[in-house]
Symmetry: D2
């Protein structure tokens, strides 16, 4: 549902135009000194500053309400929220009885028999801000055991007049010793895949050389030893049998373009009429620039769940 | 760990050269008449019959020991096992103190401080037979609500003299109504990704048009309505916001080639010596032919966990 | 950890003297109209109004920040918090380096290597206010399927000059059809026991006639049929084999007296000195009056997790 | 459902008159040398040897089929089963369309729309043999960190001609350091209560002085320090705020008498007729003698889930 992980566990809440979005981090070790500046920096990375990202102004001040004393973690649940300011819900009034093509409007309605139509409701990209906060805490926890996580844009779909663009993000996890992860259904690759695919607009997950592996022969693919437990290549992306092998863990996530084309978004109304609307609302032309920090967050949350802390 | 799912839950056990592999299916609805022939047929599909699959002769007779009375499910745990016959453990004697390149030998050792070196132990492809049994039960359960699952080989790496081959499998899930799945961290795409990536040798997961989506613009990607809740294309693969939209669910899984090249498998011994061994053991040149039924199984298990039964 | 339930799931957060306590209810069905007045009434019951309950003035205004639109549930996580006003943390300054006898001061320190010493921190009875909110939502959900939960004080320890008093609370769950609950480790009795024993100061749980059953012979204990599926007695408390039998479910919870005797609380300091302190802080002479609503809350949360909603 | 625990996890399967009962222990640390004799000894304790226990002859040979190599644990799932010999299913033919008073016959039928009527099916005491196996493994694991578990009969209901008897069992867990357990909903007392109450016929759970605490005043109940972290009494049973305090953990479980009075068991048939039958089947006059080892098993499984192994 809205919870990921067990030992390091994150629960997210909030609708885009409700009072706040936020979350609870449970299972965070005690006595970690939280660097709040680092959290702000990651939230700033997520907001983006390019002309082609959303015009919604989010101040993203995180309010922590539990789990900390004097800046140190207590080991108890860390609850936080980010107020939703600058909502222009009126922009979305048209959507009350309409479902946008390419969005989760219809699926939420089918699932729950209701939905918050304002700003995408629960399915809004706004929710990813909570992941960035939890993910930054996870990164700080991982840093105490020498593990770091970094992601960047790998490619972008071509720029076309006024259209939105897909893209891909690559992520590297460094400093993980061999032997982390559970085999079979608890493998690191399975959990990273689930974590990454939960990011809105994700369409594919590749570990190591990913899709390229299906075109290879064994003699090409196998990562050969060149010294004790050191390999020449890292085609498998640092994971074998679900367990880390001591190499860098690398994976790639692909994202489809944002579905809202501001000038003309196709909608279907509850009475079946199909029409094109010039919706207001503020949307990214290229949201991929904002995603590396979200990918990092999900990777860090997934890994923190497995590291002995 | 070795359990997947909650409402429909499968736990797997067994090493390749132990007494048996098997599993427990929990949460299966009561009063389902099990078609045992269908289970045998799927196990036969998994064994494969081509010249390039493993020479190990598995009879694969499933023994059910609980959860059934007169061929009907009781709603209680269904435990089953498949005895491991035709083990030639001696073939693996060399591996006692050696780790094969491209295998999970070293990662299991790092994780547990021990491992069963015979036939790959727990990490053997043999374990997937248990998934096929549980997956077939899941398919039979899904059939009662009109849902079917089918997978097939999408492509194979080129054939080269004596070398092993990677490949990809595409899977279609039909008959799912709109509104199935949980958003955020419990999305169908996340759970299908985790289920698929848990199959040994999986390296990538794509939902709908997958990696191609990252090269698209919004106007290309969006699945447009052509009639009430009917779309022209299915680029999103039947899932939006983690929830089914009523279309077919389609995903693709990529697999790397099997790492064992029978004539010369690179190994490292515990004292650090790197060498090439002509290992015995029986291995697939092209294991991809055997995987569609495993992909179906994992898909069915993941979906059965979400369908109201 | 801080989460209970799966299908209907409650996560609690907050320290007694932090900014707020609160929680997230996940899995609540959509389109339930929430009666906020009922929540306030239950919080008032928990605060108590007798001379012998704590003097801390809690306004207990619940702020809901997600999961609701126009007073109706959305099916998404319902997050709420109650600000901690009227904290006199200075009262607890003495406890920074001391552990009180009969409290969880020492065990939290041993578990986490730190603790919030102010007002009992996470282990304070204050946290139960969050359960009352979640429990009232659960009761409202259960009411939609005809199930009600009611608890009352069954007995109190004798009143002695200035001393605190233990007591017991009995709870009745009405309107549950036969066939609710999972057998073996998911039985309703197991889950009610776990839920009840999680209430601070709980020391015993009895289902039906409870401890008295161990003094009985079979001919006395068995609840005899008097008409189809109607029994003469209800010794088993409405649950057999972990599953409801259609009778009222009845259970009793025993609570030890509050450990703080305001005039002289025994403490041990980190250097090993044992002393008696007249601690400030505001504590209940008889907290049992405040517990029926907490017992109801935990019962409702446990049952809502099992009812098909 | 049929699984208990997370880090140390046990799943049970099997009906009384099916082919076998058994289970899977997952999360057991690697490289533990299993003492199979100790498992047999515990199974013998469970079978009992007194005149007043069931006449069914169970050989109780455990067959381990995975997770072990050379008597050492591999860290992978340990699956085992006990064949059901000596079943006289014909004895139960009458029960096909009848529900016994005091049994789970009717609740299983209501829950699943079917049941295995032979020998109690899934609800039979036979299932507890699997817990004894898993519990003994848990005890062996706990022994590696200095923790031991022991239980004994505390009291028995009076003996009356031909009638069955209730009773109570007390359990002591020794060697647990302070700081084990999770607060709030993951407390050791909650988890021990759930584990104990899952034993068939359990009706009450008491931690420490249990029900007596509700008659006490604070000055009587509080366990006073007599030396650094040593208390004079152990009224709280070694757990405060859900976390161990370093004392012995003590709890008591009460059990109702077995409901089958062999000479005349009240039954209701599916057409509503109430009658008394002299059922065959073999039942305990006093099953309480057999329960200490089951209580130990459940305690050990619950504690192993919390100890850092």
């Amino acid at each position: 549902m809205n919870t990921i992980g067990h030992n390091f566990r994150f629960t997210s809440f909030g609708e885009s135009h409700g009072l706040a979005v936020g979350g609870i981090v449970d299972g965070c070790p005690a006595n970690i000194e939280i660097d709040f500046e680092a959290i702000s920096t990651d939230l700033k990375r997520r907001r983006g500053n390019r002309a082609d990202t959303t015009q919604r102004h989010e101040t993203d001040e995180v309010e922590f309400v539990s789990g900390l004393k004097g800046g140190l973690t207590l080991g108890t649940p860390i609850a936080f929220f980010l107020r939703n300011g600058d909502c222009r819900s009126a922009d979305y009034e048209l959507l009350k009885d309409r479902f946008r093509a390419g969005h989760a409007d219809y699926t939420y309605q089918a699932r729950y028999g209701t939905r918050d139509h304002r700003g995408g409701g629960r399915a809004s990209g706004r929710e990813t801000a909570t992941r960035v906060v939890a993910g930054n805490i996870a990164k700080q926890v991982l840093a105490t055991v020498g593990v770091s996580v970094g992601a960047e844009v790998l490619k972008l779909a071509p720029e076309r007049d006024g259209d939105t663009r897909g893209g891909a993000v690559v992520c590297h996890i460094r400093g993980i010793k061999a032997g982390v992860g559970d085999p079979i259904f608890g493998g690191l690759d399975s959990e990273l895949a689930a974590a990454a695919m939960s990011i809105p607009s994700a369409t594919a997950f590749e570990i190591g050389c990913g899709t390229a592996a299906s075109d290879m022969n064994g003699s090409q693919f196998v990562d050969k030893w060149v010294a004790p437990f050191v390999t020449e290549t890292n085609h498998c992306g640092g994971i074998q049998g679900g367990i880390s092998n001591g190499n860098e863990i690398t994976f790639t996530v692909h994202f489809h373009p944002v579905a809202t084309i501001p000038e003309a978004t196709q909608c279907i109304s509850s009475d079946g009429t199909i029409e094109y609307l010039a919706l207001g609302g503020r949307h990214d032309r290229c949201h991929v620039h904002r995603l590396p920090v979200v990918v990092e967050a999900m990777a860090a949350i997934a890994i923190a769940n497995h590291i002995k802390l």
